[in-house]
Structures are given as structure tokens and as C-alpha cells.
Amino acid sequence: MAELNLVQSINLALAQEMERDDRVMVLGEDVGLNGGVFRVTDGLQKRFGEDRVVDTPLAESGILGTSIGLAINGMLPVPEIQFEGFLGPAYDQIVHHAGRMRNRTRGAVTVPLTVRVPVGGGIHAPELHSDSPEAIYSHHVGIKVVMPSTPYDAKGLLLAAIRDPDPVIFFEPKRVYRSYKEHVPEDDYTVEIGEAKVLSEGEDVTVITWGATVFQALAALDELPEDVSVELIDMRTIYPMDEDTIVESVQKTGRCVIVHEAARTAGMGAEIATILQEKCFLHLEAPVQRVTGFDTVMPYYKLENHYLPEAPRIKEAIEQVLAY
């Protein structure tokens, strides 16, 4: 068992799955010789050749659209979009083709592809390199949306995604690409899509989050008094959502804080809060709170930390729901 960071574990998962199944292909901008701008695909072209690890022309609609064709005709494409901000040109292909194909053909044509996308802020990146669009793609139909925060989950979820018969967007929180290492087994294993993980069990309040803010939430927990008992949940999959885990938790604690980087309005926090008021109504002791990005542009990096839901804002919200 090796200690790997997120980048290394994703790289390992890709390599192992390419080894196991020769239908798997990696394609995207700079994914070949350069190994991707974050080096996630490092070494794969050398190992599996230029036919299976392909530097494409600079065209996101092209990458996604041809991946759909590849998937329809028997390949298992794992396209990379360099940053979430560049999903824009591919939007039509993902939303209007990949997500709808199974339903509109009543199952005759399917699109098993996994698009990998670095996501989120906090790395002092250029403009349009720090957004969090997970709610947009969860709102659209027919697409599974996952966002692991840890190396172990990343490998297991990626293998599950590639083997899934439907399109999956695999968001990789770039802020924690290299900041956290853990043991990642060499063995083949999957983490089921649609299963949240309870990171710490608690009685007083539930904190629900995913992606890089998991680590901000952990930092907030460290700052709370010893006697405060927090149940921290990492959603891991954004859609389809693990309602059972969050409902069970909030029925127990009666209080909930949801944390995400994306803007508040029509963010996933809104969806989760609604589920909780529907299914935990008589258990709630306080209004469900959303600690999120503001309803603004994700600011360029001089101001990005004011936008991001950092630990102090999370801690304050926890204290407020507890005091309510």
C-alpha cells in the first residue's frame, strides 16, 4: 500500500483500468506527452501509446462530442477538460446529447463516458480557472456528478465511474490535488457512486460538504470546543444524492450546516436544504444554514479567499445553529 495524493491516485486508477480494459481511452488537451497541466495523466501515453492517450485539438465541444461517438461505438472514453471554466464550449454536448441519449432512444443508444474536470478555487489561478459548476450539471438530467475529496475515494470512484453505463462528470478539487496523502490500495476496488461518507460521527449538528471544503470543514471542527459533537459528511457524489445518509444524520442532530464553494442561489445547498425540510421537518431544531460562495463572479485571486467558504465562516455558522 502506497501513500498517494489525489493526483497520483487518479493516475493509478487510470493506468490500472487501461491495463484491465483496452476499450478505455484518455483524450484531451495536453494529456499526452505533457501528462496534463496538472500531470494527472503523466506517463500514460508512454505506457499505452498515442492511440489510446490522445492529445486532441483545442476544442472542448470536439472532445466531448467525439467522446460520445466513441462511447456509442464501443469504446470507454475518459476525456479530460483542462479546467471547469472550459466546460462552456462542451456544455451542449454534455447536457443535450450525453445526458439525454439513453432516454430519448429508450435505451437503444447509451453513452458510457467519464469526463474528468479539475474544479474549484483556492490555488491563485487565472480568471475562469476556479469555478464550481457541480449544481449546473446536477440540475440537468441523465448525468452523474461526483467529486471525491480524498485519494482513496478518488481511485474507487473513478473506477466506478468508468465502469458505469452512463455519463459521469468526475470533478477533481484542484486545491487538494497535492495537499493530502493517504494509503491507496493497489488492489482493484470501487467506491459506489451515490454513497456519502460520514467522516466523523456526532450528536449536535450535521455539517454536509464535498470537495476541497471538506478540509475547511475539518479545520473549522478543530476550532470548536471539545464538547461540541459534529457529524461531518462528505457527499462524494453530488448526483444521485445519498439522501438516506444525510436524512438519518439530521434526524439525529436536528441541526445542519451545508458548505459549498459554488454560489448560493440554486446551488446544491438549496436542494439539500429542501430535502431536509421535507424529510426531517419535525426533527429540525434550527434553520438549515448554507455557507457558500456569494452570488457573484468567482473573484480573481486577490479576493478569492473572501469568496470561498473558509473555516472561520463555517465555524461561525456551526456556532449559530447550535445557539439557536
Binding site: N34, V37, L58, P89, L128, D295, T296, V297, L303, Y307
Partner: protein, 373 residues
């Protein structure tokens, strides 16, 4: 005749000043005055210094990711020289700083921008430049639209847009060119073919022999130009500009140049690019050949060079100072420029810096009602 030729054409390649600084006597005659050439050389040198200093700022942690422009100065300046400051529009990507400075963008703005501050894109009044564009290949549509508006409003204004070789692979490029051709708008498409799109070489970007020929499909006059040749870039752009002003529509210019630096400061080109290729292009550096030209004409010597280098250093030092001494941006800027008039819910977020109802206004979260219950 069942098979006839439906369409036939050629792509011209234009070069006026060769690598050794020798000017084509016919094409180069009276093209640019000695003063213009000298000023261009000086501006190029200042921009090169700017580029080097920006690189160092990034390396020393004083600036974020920066895309060096090194090697592409002639393409930017030669084309911008044919356009009229404050009258014609420039719609840039990010590798033509020299053109933007010529057309009135303050030099510190580009540093401010890459220092992570939107105020770098706060274009001063009267400067006809759109902000640097991050999503590759998307901004040329704006150029077509700006040129279209000029046509609608019967303005004497031409729009120049800059983009890379990689950008021609995006669908939006083709839409921009097609609209421009159909609508016959006064727009000049300047493709800076620097051989690379990050690590992807030109051969993997397109199976076309030239980028220039892509414009043929849209009925746009097109030419390939030595992009490291100030004179050729000026001549091609001038011709395009004249045509545009006469109502003869858009032109495409492929500027064949080379990215002498890494893609950005976040990149390491040695991973994918042969140093032999780089070295060959270093010999074609636009600065070297322009200096040779000026020297051959007796307009330049070591003394002038030394003085210029000292001047360039001083100018850039001052620019860096301006950028670094800017007061911190106000956090409220995040909110205040979202709409002309701020929506109420956003105003509350702005004033409280909170997205939670309890953080924004505890009284409204039902606490009072609860107490009464």
C-alpha cells in the same frame, strides 16, 4: 465535362525583412519611415524587458501565472501600427501586449491583471480595447460583432482581433469567421501561429497545411505572413485595413511566429519541445533582425543600444512600481460590479459578507417567533 474545377486558389506567403535584416527593395520601399521603424524597435525592446521582468515577478512570488509574449512582438506591433489608436478596435487574447500598449492600454494594467486583480481589465475611457480573454477562441465573435456595429453605425472603424493557432480549433472561431464573411464586416483576424498550443504542436492541431487557408472556407481574403517581420505584418495589415475601410469586408492574416518562452510561467516546455527547434527560432527573433536592419542603415549602434536598454529598464521599473503600489482592491468590488443596480439579496450578502440567514439577520430567522411560542 463531368468533372470540372469548382474552386481553385493559392495561399500567398509574405515576407519583407529577412532574418539578416535585409529588406525587399520593392515591397519595403517607402513602407515605413526610419522614425517609425526606430520607434517600433524601441517599443519592442521595452516590451521584451517587460516580459522578462514579469517572468521574474512570478518566480519571486510577486505575481501569479503570466504568459510571456517573447518572440511575438513584431506580429503585435506590425499589425497594430496599421491601425488607428482610439479609432480602431483591438480584441486580444493575451500574447499581444505590445499592440495593446501602443493603443493606449496603460502598461501596468496587464501586470495588475496577472497579479489577480480585475482592475487590470478596467480599460480607460477612450481606449478601444476589450479585456484579455481567457477562454480560448471565443472572443473573435466579439470582434465580428464590434465590426458589425461599426458598419451599422457607419463609423470609420476597423476591428483587429488576435488569437493563437490553437484557437482556430474551437467552433467559435469558425462562427466568427463565417459571420464576418457573410456580413462583410470591417474585421481583421490575426492568427498568431506560434507553432504550439501549450504542449500540442501545430501538426496535431490541424491537418491543414496553413492556418491561412481556413479563411477560404468563409470567403475571406487571406494571407500567410512572416510574423517575425515587422514590415510584412504592417504591409499585410495595412492592405487589410484599406480594404475594410472601403467596405470590402474582413481579412485573415496568419502570422507565422514562435513562442520563445514556456506557454506560461506554470508550464515547462522542456517536457515536450526540442531545444533544437527553440534554438533555430531564436535566430529568427524579431528584435535581432530589426536591429540588424537599423544598423545596416547606419541608424543604430552599440551606444544607442545601451541607452535604449537602460531606458527600457527604467520604464519597466516604473510600471512595476505603479502596479505594486496600487492599494488593495475593496472586497465590496466583488459585489458592486455584478449589475448596474445591485439586487436586494446580493446587497445583503455584500453588507454582511455572509450567505447564512443567521449570519445575515438573526432576527429574521424566526428566533422572535420561537421565543413567543
Amino acid at each position: 465535362m463531368p468533372r470540372t474545377v469548382a474552386y481553385k486558389t493559392q495561399i500567398q506567403h509574405l515576407s519583407v525583412l529577412d532574418e539578416n535584416g535585409k529588406l525587399d527593395s520593392k515591397l519595403g520601399k517607402d513602407l515605413l519611415s526610419d522614425e517609425q521603424v526606430q520607434q517600433s524597435y524601441e517599443h519592442m525592446t521595452v516590451c521584451r524587458q517587460y516580459d522578462e521582468v514579469a517572468f521574474k515577478l512570478q518566480r519571486s512570488g510577486r505575481m501569479g501565472t503570466f504568459p510571456q509574449n517573447k518572440g511575438q512582438e513584431a506580429a503585435a506591433i506590425g499589425s497594430a501600427l496599421a491601425a488607428r489608436k482610439g479609432q480602431d478596435w483591438l480584441v486580444p487574447a493575451y500574447r499581444e501586449n505590445a499592440a495593446l500598449f501602443m493603443h493606449g492600454l496603460p502598461m501596468h494594467s496587464v501586470l495588475t491583471y496577472w497579479m489577480g486583480d480585475e482592475r487590470g481589465s478596467q480599460i480607460p475611457e477612450g481606449v478601444k480595447i476589450t479585456p484579455l480573454s481567457v477562454p480560448i477562441g471565443t472572443h473573435m465573435l466579439h470582434a465580428t460583432g464590434i465590426a458589425w456595429a461599426a458598419k451599422m453605425r457607419k463609423e470609420d472603424s476597423v476591428t483587429l482581433t488576435y488569437f493563437g493557432d490553437g484557437a482556430t480549433s474551437e467552433g467559435d472561431f469558425h462562427e466568427a469567421a463565417n459571420f464576418a464573411g457573410v456580413l462583410q464586416v470591417p474585421c481583421i483576424f490575426i492568427c498568431q501561429n506560434n507553432s504550439w498550443a501549450i504542449s500540442v504542436p501545430r501538426e496535431k492541431q490541424t491537418a491543414s497545411e496553413t492556418f491561412a487557408q481556413k479563411a477560404l472556407a468563409y470567403g475571406i481574403p487571406t494571407i500567410q505572413v512572416d510574423g517575425n517581420d515587422l514590415f510584412a505584418m504592417y504591409l499585410a495589415t495595412k492592405e487589410a485595413h484599406d480594404r475594410a475601410r472601403k467596405g470590402e469586408g474582413p481579412t485573415f492574416i496568419e502570422a507565422v511566429t514562435y513562442r520563445l518562452a514556456d506557454h506560461t510561467t506554470a508550464d515547462d516546455a522542456s517536457r515536450y519541445r526540442d531545444t533544437s527547434e527553440l534554438d533555430a527560432w531564436k535566430a529568427k527573433d524579431p528584435l535581432i533582425r530589426l536591429r540588424k536592419y537599423l544598423e545596416n542603415k547606419g541608424l543604430w549602434d552599440d551606444e544607442k543600444q545601451e541607452a535604449l536598454e537602460a531606458k527600457a529598464k527604467a520604464i519597466v521599473q516604473e510600471v512595476v512600481k505603479t502596479a505594486e503600489e496600487m492599494p488593495k482592491p475593496d472586497v465590496t468590488d466583488i459585489f458592486d460590479y455584478t449589475f448596474a443596480e445591485i439586487p436586494e439579496s446580493l446587497r445583503v450578502q455584500r453588507d454582511t459578507m455572509r450567505t447564512t440567514s443567521l449570519g445575515q439577520n438573526p432576527d429574521q430567522a424566526g428566533l422572535g417567533a420561537r421565543a413567543a411560542r
